[in-house]
């Protein structure tokens, strides 16, 4: 028993590199000749590794407990890249449209009453439907995609939202689908989801870049995040494009 303790002490020294040259030589010779000693060394090494492994996990778990006790990090949303595809969510959104429209209406009224200039309302018009212009066909004869754009164009945003979410689920994520989806959220006054989707577009694509920055800028403006709005508008003014003049005009007004 006593011997084992002395052995372990020596093994520790060896493993930590604290052993003298002479002892090291003896130690390594013994490793070759004494199989019981060899297995003790392997065991001690394995146990120490295991203790570190367990303590590492303990510490991680402590941090997880701490995290749970804290309030959520601000501006952290539910993982919408997955979540917003859920049909259930679409239904929930549809059900709150009336409330949302009501609140937008209230905001508009209250702003006009205070006489404060509402640049958002002045500059915002929903992006036109350029993907599937309505051909005046019967609704029954339209494909799901045509119908989705038809609802979008005719400002039936709750129906449009439902179909766009389905399209995204069925045919995969495309730039135009996400762009119009973001526009629908925006038209419905759900700026959080609009911003989320516009931001994803900016990270992934360039086709709708200026349009995306324009609408994202307006969302930020309406959300009260002036700095972020300015940043998007400034980016638009850096190149020649059809949004440049509007962006410059709006920038000069909000900077006043």
């Amino acid at each position: 028993m006593k011997n084992e303790t002395i052995h372990i002490e020596l093994i520790e020294k060896y493993l930590e590199g604290r052993i003298s040259k002479k002892d090291k030589k003896n130690f390594e010779d013994r490793l070759c000749s004494d199989s019981a000693f060899k297995s003790l060394v392997e065991d001690v090494r394995g146990l120490i590794e295991g203790i570190r492994y367990a303590a590492h996990n303990d510490l991680l778990n402590e941090l997880k407990k701490t995290e749970k006790s804290l309030s959520p990090v601000q501006t952290l949303h539910k993982p919408k890249t997955v979540g917003f595809r859920r049909f259930k969510y679409a239904v929930a959104v549809a059900a709150t449209i009336v409330l949302l429209l009501g609140s937008i209406f209230t905001i508009i009224i209250s702003r006009s009453q205070t006489g404060k200039e509402d640049y958002f309302m002045k500059y915002y018009t929903p992006y036109p439907n350029i993907i599937h212009p309505v051909q005046r066909a019967e609704e029954e004869q339209m494909t799901k995609e045509e119908l989705a754009y038809y609802y979008y164009e005719s400002e039936q945003y709750n129906k449009a939202l439902e179909l766009f979410l389905e399209l995204q689920e069925e045919t995969g994520d495309s730039e135009s689908t996400r762009f119009y989806l973001a526009n629908i959220y925006m038209a419905m006054g759900n700026y959080d989801d609009a911003i989320e989707n516009f931001t994803i577009l900016l990270n992934d694509s360039v086709l709708f870049e200026n349009q995306t920055r324009w609408y994202l800028g307006l969302c930020y403006l309406e959300d009260g995040n002036l700095k972020a709005a300015e940043e998007q508008l400034e980016r638009i003014t850096e190149t020649e494009n059809s949004y440049k003049d509007k962006a410059e005009e709006l920038l000069s007004k909000i900077k006043k």
Binding site: E4, T5, I8, E9, D43, V44, G46, L47, I48, E49, G50, I51, R52, Y53, A54, A55, H56, N57, D58, L59, L60, E62, L63, K64, T66, E67, L70, P72, V73, Q74, T75, L76, K78, P79, T81, V82, I200, N203
Partner: protein
């Protein structure tokens, strides 16, 4: 906070000190991770927790050498590595599923075997219980001195703590060997 006060705090303190550090950089770091890897809140939190543990381990093991960069820069650099490691692992798993085959190289087998052993010791520690578990973890992982351990574990002095530590290690070995 600068490096020397952080290191002093972590080395001499207990979990509360690390918790303070965790809270200090939490918001900025988690938002940054979400933005950089477009991952979920939960994944971002995992990366942050692993990063803080890595910071802790580097401090107690004297592995921090470049004191020129700020603590924040250092944390973000660890975070970046953790992020890549996580996505690499995910990619590996995804590949196994996609290709319908398992990676059965010797290395993978060794890794699995090693993890099994570590988990075996962890279970052994569960059986061993405190104060032995605590003493072993304080010494081998948290790198506390025998004096500090004696204080925390309420033992007479460093010599008692040292003897106790050997006894605990021997007991753990016996439990482990019985379980294998």
């Amino acid at each position: 906070m600068d490096w020397s006060s952080l290191i002093k705090k972590i080395r001499s303190g207990d979990y509360n000190e690390l918790e303070q550090v965790y809270k200090m950089y939490r918001e900025e770091f988690i938002l940054w991770i979400i933005k950089s890897c477009k991952c979920s809140d939960d994944d971002a939190k995992d990366v942050y927790q692993q990063t803080i543990v890595a910071l802790y381990e580097n401090i107690v093991n004297d592995k921090i050498q470049n004191f020129n960069s700020s603590i924040k820069t250092y944390l973000f650099a660890i975070g970046k590595n953790k992020m890549y490691a996580t996505s690499r692992d995910k990619h590996k798993i995804q590949m196994e599923i996609d290709e319908g085959f398992e990676l059965t190289s010797d290395e993978t087998n060794r890794e699995e075997e090693n993890t099994k052993k570590l988990e075996g010791v962890e279970k052994g520690l569960d059986k061993l219980g405190d104060p032995c578990r605590k003493i072993l973890e304080l010494y081998y992982y948290h790198k506390k001195t025998m004096n500090e351990i004696a204080k925390v574990a309420g033992l007479k002095n460093s010599e008692t703590a040292k003897n106790m530590k050997y006894k605990c290690l021997k007991r753990l070995r016996a439990i482990y060997l019985k379980g294998v």
